[in-house]
Amino acid sequence: MNDTWFQILGALPPLLVALSVIGLFVTLCIARHERLVYAMTVGGLNLALVATIALIPLGPVAVTPLYIVDFYTLFFWGVILVATLACAAFAMPYLSGFNDRREEFYILLATSALGAMSLVAARHFGSLFVGLEALSIPLYGMVAYTFRTRASLEAGFKYMILSGVASAFLLFGMALLYGATGSLAFTNLIPAGGYDADAGPWMLMGIGMMLVALTFKLSLVPFHVWTPDVYEGAPAPVATFLATVSKTAVFALLLRLFVSAPITDNAWLLTLVGVLALASMLIGNLLALRQDNLKRLLGYSSIAHLGYLLTTLVAGASLSIEAVAVYLATYVGTSLGAFGVVSLVSSPFAGKDAAHIDHFRGLYYKRPVLAVSMAIMMLSLAGIPLTMGFIGKFYILSVTMASGLWWLTGGVIVGSGIALFYYLRVMAILFMDRPAHAREPQLSGTGDNWAQTVVWLLAAATILMGIYPAPLIDLAAVAGITLGS
């Protein structure tokens, strides 16, 4: 009995999110009230965030054999909840122009966050698979939420088909591994022959097929092709969610899999992962180079950023997990800010989003604070010192250098060099003279003010973490120790 209560306590944050989903659904059945639904979503997520923070002193809790709630889990739960809250704040003013049912969006958002949380805590293929699907299936609906706009429908459709293919790969890979080992838990993925036996082709194929699926979700080359179209077509708050929560959860899972499953300790497999990383950072940045649509540009740049991140898996240095935690947190913060500005400029919804670079020309003269925030985010994405992007980039470089992976170090440097061009181009556009045909960003009610506050806070945090990153680094270090041991 005691043990059960302990497990429930450990699973409290996702349970709270789940409860709020149920609450939302019941509310929806009784009456449609947008403000109430929004308040319930935000309230539930905030409660979950508080619970997450309160759980920090608890120590690792095994919640059923399928989940583990340790500090690593809590760290990423925190990141996911904060990012989801920001997405909800952006969605509110955005949807105010959506002339249709708006309440369902919040149900899908919360369910998707629930799936992401499950993914982060997973240590078993069952929780991995269902978590990933619970993350993705509401996302199909969110991407196609404004389906009367053809772009949104097209994006949702593309994402659904390709994601389904990826799911099949994941399942097949898991089945192969299960067949070889007789176990679905990460830590038991040991060849049936015994501990000393090297993973044979069978198991390599299994982990390879899983890797195809997971790198698809992370939009790494060569499984990246869907990214720009889906980012462009999806409503801006959904693109934000896709670029932050979805990526964080899947990467956190991938890292746990690589750290805890013995079969991933294969030199050739890691070399191939390194090749994927190198290809992603180069191709992602090259594709972004002359892109005029800001959402596509950010999509391409996310390919490159995930490529940088993937180098840590190859390095396997003692610093790797800490580096991933720091980099993901900084990347999420920065992406939230950048997409948030795009979302705010496109709010309220009126057909296709205002994401063309011309929409942002001279934003400084219209909405100075938004433009300055955007400029800070671009600097941070480019990894300029005194922004938190620099801290993350610095970690990646030190990890690759510490492991002597000079080819990956070179790739990160070349990629960042290319990236500088397009980030600075966006920055310059913000301060240029405003042409007559640019869409006027509108200001609506309180929701917009909330969303703006979120963008300001993110911009302030970007600078603050750049000059005083110690708290973040400390948290990441603890997360690294709990997972590493």
Partner: protein, 186 residues
Amino acid sequence: MEFTFFAAGIVALATTARVITCANPVHALLYLITSMLALAIDFYALGAAFAAVLEVVVYAGAIMVLFVFVVMMLNLNNETVAREKSWLRPQLWAGPAAAAGLLLLALLWALIFGGIEYGGITGEELAAREVGMNLFGPYVLVVELAAFLLLAALVVAAHIGRDDTDQVSDAAARGERVTTNVRESR
């Protein structure tokens, strides 16, 4: 057991091949259902009687019927079949066949030289009770999560599957100004 497995497997392969080559959607659906029934026999041969039942009832019975409904809504006719045939040009097959060949080679390599001991499947029947115990034992949270997943799928389908007429009545119920055509910019 072996004979049943191989015979049903060959049926499944043949019908599945017809699904991807067939021009008539209704025929394709029937082939797919046949393939699933054959797979259900395989499941039974492998001792997974419960899964075999589910395959027939849920997969072939429910999901495929969903497809049938949609086919009915799409108003397919002979024209569709003709267009379907024109889309299946032979030169389309080169790339996918090459990729599939390479992947098949890799998969077979992995299976045959996999370093996994042969044999092992006795076909001993697995009680549904055990599966149930498993589902509501260690997997209980995952099952709950799957429920949320289905709920989300329901919400998505309900939202996306709606007509424009709904939108008008909804908006009217809210007392909002109705604009049927959402502004679009390309």
